[in-house]
């Protein structure tokens, strides 16, 4: 086995370790799809897109640059904050305030000779399908579910059965504290991010009446300051969660509230954590998850070993809290996935609800998670968030009961949300028994 020939591309001495693996078959390599001679050159010609230049993104760029990819693009709209420096290792104190994508790209280009990294200091939504079509692989290191859903829907929409190049494998990583996950998606072929949405259920919101009249936890006091007091007092024109002055204002109001009700535990740090929904993050976990993602990228690009995604396992869960644990499994594609499935998804509703209650419920439903839904039923518009004129016209419907709007058990409704412009989420109403 060890005597099999190595097929380097450029700089054979430098890429010796990588070439031994990617250009020679191992015991698990599928000879049907593996061509050792072609691998190194093919990988050098590939274009890979990295989404996010944060904790995972910095790792992804380093890993891909040291995996034989030469043409990498990176998108991130954020600027560097001091709280990034404990893990986003391509940034230094002097970089605070600069574009993450630009600083990260410059650093890796300088460190790893021969790699071209093109930064895009903007939102993923600023690009159209033509832009995404140029890549052979997309690797995501994002903290927002919404951005993941957007790129997922975009890549699924781009699939054209007649055009093999239109299938862009999507590799996605995420971390929280000592835990994380890495998954591989072959759009329209395997379970997609939308199929897996219920794996990332939103945190249950505290009822407004608890905030308003019966707070018990420090978080309730902070949310009160954030949701109620801020709106009443409007101390600044718009809340900037990164402005310490704004956070201090919220903290003080939360503290007053806590004092009034004898609730211990309101601190500046907790205020910041609740208001910004801060997820703890460390370098070590990002290292694990980003490396797991890029390891799959190398295998997919070279076929030198079986990869996650096809045909079986496509999802690796990782936890370092208690010992070290992974669970690698196959997440099944869903026929009723609003993005890649054909069927409408069941939506359990109470028929005595008003349309307004239904509209509001979309944000918290694990299977929907839509913050600004507009609803249509066959042949009629139920509620539209925009334009303003249509919103005004459909607003009276919000107070009407579902049954009074003529909605029936089993009826299909279409839901759109500005965050996912290309997707119509199809739902089938299922009434709860009275």
């Amino acid at each position: 086995m060890a005597t099999t020939e190595v097929f380097p591309a450029s700089e054979p001495a430098r890429w010796l370790y990588l070439d031994r693996i990617r250009t020679r078959p191992g015991p698990f390599t599928d000879p049907e799809i593996f061509s050792g001679q072609a691998v190194a050159e093919a990988m050098e010609a590939m274009k890979v897109l990295v989404i996010g230049a944060g904790g995972l993104g910095c790792e992804l760029l380093k890993n891909l640059a040291l995996s034989g990819f030469k043409d990498i693009h990176v998108i991130d709209m954020d600027t560097i904050d001091i709280s990034n420096l404990n893990r986003q290792f391509l940034f230094r104190q002097a970089d605070v305030g600069h574009s993450k994508a630009e600083v990260a790209a410059r650093f890796v280009e300088k460190r790893v000779k021969g790699v071209k990294i093109t930064p895009h200091n903007c939102r993923i939504q600023d690009f159209d399908e033509d832009f995404y079509m140029q890549f052979q692989l997309v690797v995501c290191g994002l903290d927002s579910i919404e951005a993941r859903r957007w790129i997922n829907a975009t890549l699924v929409n781009m699939v054209d059965e007649e055009v093999p190049d239109s299938y862009k494998p999507l590799i996605d990583g995420g971390t929280e504290g000592f835990k994380g996950q890495a998954r591989v998606i072959f759009p329209t072929v395997t379970s997609c991010i939308e199929c897996q949405l219920d794996m990332h259920a939103p945190r249950a919101a505290v009822p407004l009446c608890t905030l308003a009249s019966i707070p018990r936890q420090p978080e309730h006091c902070i949310e009160w300051a954030h949701v109620i007091a801020w709106d009443q007092d409007k101390p600044f024109p718009e809340l900037d969660k990164d402005d310490p002055e704004h956070i201090t204002w919220l903290f003080q109001r939360a503290l007053e509230r806590a004092k009034e009700f004898n609730i211990p535990g309101v601190t500046y740090s907790l205020t910041q954590g609740v208001v910004k929904n801060i997820i703890p993050a460390i370098a070590a976990t990002n290292s694990v998850i980003a490396a797991a993602c890029c390891n799959e990228a190398v295998k997919i690009a070279s076929n030198c070993a079986p990869f996650l995604g096809l045909p079986e396992e496509n999802y690796m869960m990782y936890s370092g809290n208690d010992s070290v644990y992974t669970y690698t499994f196959k997440h099944e594609k869903k026929d009723d996935c609003p993005v890649c499935g054909q069927l409408a998804r069941d939506l359990t509703v109470d028929p005595s609800w008003t349309l307004g209650e239904l509209v509001e419920s979309f944000a918290a439903r694990p299977e929907a998670q839509l913050k600004k839904p507009s609803l249509r039923a066959e042949g009629k518009t139920l509620y539209m968030q925009s334009p303003a004129s249509l919103e005004e016209k459909t607003r009276p419907n919000l107070d009407k009961k579902l049954v009074d709007l003529g909605l029936e058990e089993g009826q299909e409704i279409g839901v759109t949300d500005p965050a996912f412009a290309t997707v119509v989420f199809k739902f089938k109403l299922k009434f709860t028994k009275q």
Partner: protein, 543 residues
């Protein structure tokens, strides 16, 4: 009104310092105490082979701010290094690898100090070990010479320094930690949901009278009061009624608890505008989980039953407190109350009162434990804060590597342990397909460690046959297993070379483990963790 409040609070309300801002995302995990432990850590990395996994591990420790590190690496930087190691650049070619690595890794965090060896003064590993202040933990990468390994083992033995061996080649990698004796952890960070301990079947007088007062005229309460009874109070009320109806016995079986749940559900008022009561729903949902007889968790049982061999260890704060908690448990047949009350629907005032009843009882229990601990020889030095932490986490205290230091431990050689692990793992593989469980990763460990002392220069030792021969010498028969043969072939394919991603992944895991060991928070793996970069998973083995 505003003026009064403003005058009571300092003008700048604990805005975070520069350092707190930089480390904010990790302080939320291990708090200031964990950070202080990291900042006083002194870590040695003995680096060799392709050298990336060690560098990646160190990167993940320097970023969160360990105190200092030293790298011992005898290699000069080669072309191949630049294709796999991010902390070397063109300017490093031909230079000392430890020097270049140290310089580029130090750029990551100005708070951290680092030095490199061999240098002009200290030319060998032995001289470095003899001359340095004691290391908190030592990481070393394979391949390593048997002589250097022996030096590290001896050092670890003498100073009780944990050693972590790391090996990464191609798609495969593992680490193995030697913790030097039993390693107790109090601050294990269990899942929030697992920590609820309400003592509904053993309420103390203050709790009983509080609940009685609120429920003495439960049917006469107006809808608002009734709908805001905390679920703890609701359950205590119906448990009391249950006892009266059942000869003074509490519901014990699942069936009885289901019955209780129905009683609670039926007691909810439905003739109100909401058509139900959220607090009664919470109460019903909590029955099965919270109506439980306190029992001794297995982790703590192991602590209670541990027999010491080392008298110095026995007099440490942890063991004195553990012994006091044991006495407390024997006397009361329950652990000290953790004192945390989950959130539940209730009026603010009532909830805060109930919360303080739980807190007061927790304080009382902790005070009793402290008193017992202080009465023991050496107990006068016990830190009350350590007692509080122990009492809060008692149910989740964990002893890692318990058997190694215990008096009752049968001393089995490492070689025999490996053989019996192989028997166990291969037997499990026979049924793996049936039980839908994944195959053992032990073959990967066997194949990698067959090359644990083989340098890049001796290429012939990397052929699959040599690897299998070496495995056969350790675990006779294993060399015939198909999965072992495949693992040997895969290791041969790499010829000691690293893949950056596999090294980075293992570097992340080892850094997590190092943080857990240094901060004594969360639970370290015991004792070997193997990664398969082809299947995309890990397995922890006790070898």
């Amino acid at each position: 009104m505003t003026e009064i409040i403003m005058s009571q609070t300092p003008p700048i309300l604990h805005r975070p310092s520069e350092k707190e801002r930089k480390y904010d995302r990790q302080l939320r995990l291990w708090a200031a105490s964990g950070q202080a432990a990291l900042e006083s850590a002194n870590i040695l990395l003995v680096n060799s082979g392709a050298g990336t996994v060690g560098a990646e591990t160190l990167k993940n420790l320097v970023l969160p701010g360990i105190g200092r590190f030293a790298i011992y690496d005898e290699t000069q930087v080669s072309e191949a290094d630049l294709g796999v190691n991010f902390f070397l650049d063109e300017a490093s070619l031909g230079k000392s690898r430890s020097k270049s690595l140290t310089e580029l890794i130090l750029e990551l965090n100005p708070d951290v100090q680092g030095t490199w060896y061999p240098n002009e003064e200290l030319k060998t590993l032995d001289s470095l070990l003899a001359a340095s202040p004691v290391f908190t933990i030592i990481l070393y990468t394979h391949p390593i010479s048997p002589e250097q390994l022996a030096s590290l083992e001896a050092y670890g033995q003498k100073h009780k320094t944990p050693l972590v061996a790391i090996h990464s080649a191609g798609f495969y990698s593992y680490f193995q930690v030697n913790l030097r004796g039993a390693f107790p952890i109090v601050d294990t960070h269990p899942d929030e949901t697992a920590t609820t301990d309400l003592r509904l079947l053993g309420p103390w007088p203050e709790l009983v009278s509080f609940a009685d007062e609120l429920t003495k005229d439960i049917d006469g309460l107006d809808n608002f009061e009734h709908g805001h009874l905390p679920y703890v109070v609701i359950l205590l009320h119906y448990l009391k009624e249950w006892k009266v109806a059942h000869d003074g016995k509490y519901p014990a079986t699942f069936k009885e608890k289901t019955e209780l749940r129905k009683i609670v559900q039926a007691a909810a008022r439905t003739n109100n505008p909401e058509g139900g009561e959220e607090n009664f729903e919470e109460a019903a949902a909590a029955v099965v989980k919270t109506v439980v007889v306190p029992s001794l968790p297995s982790g703590l049982k192991e602590v209670f039953e541990y027999e010491h061999t080392d008298p110095v260890e026995q007099r440490s704060g942890f063991w004195l407190i553990a012994d006091a908690v044991k006495q407390f448990y024997e006397k009361h047949q329950c652990l000290p109350l953790p004192g945390k009350l989950p959130d539940m629907k209730a009026e603010s005032k009532v909830y805060i009162q109930l919360q303080s009843i739980y807190k007061a009882k927790a304080r009382k229990d902790a005070a009793e434990v402290l008193q017992i601990a202080q009465a023991a020889p050496g107990g006068d030095l016990i830190d009350p804060a350590e007692v509080d932490l122990f009492c809060k986490n008692a149910a989740f205290v964990k002893l890692i590597n318990a058997t190694s230091g215990a008096a009752t431990a049968v001393k089995i050689s490492k070689a025999d342990r490996l053989k019996s692990a192989a028997d166990r793992e291969f037997a499990a593989d026979e049924t793996a397909a049936l039980s839908l469980s994944p195959f053992s990763l032990l073959p990967i460990y066997l194949a990698l460690q067959a090359t644990a002392h083989v340098g890049e220069s001796s290429a012939s030792s990397f052929d699959a046959d040599s690897i299998l021969a070496s495995i056969a010498a350790q675990v006779p028969g294993a060399e015939k297993q198909e999965r072992v043969i495949q693992a040997a072939q895969e290791v041969a394919r790499a010829q000691g070379g690293e893949l950056h991603n596999v090294a980075a992944l293992m570097g992340g895991i080892v850094a997590q483990e190092t943080i857990k060991i240094v901060t004594k928070q969360y639970i370290p793996a015991d004792n070997t963790c193997v990664y398969d970069g082809i299947g995309g998973r890990v397995q922890v083995l006790r070898l």
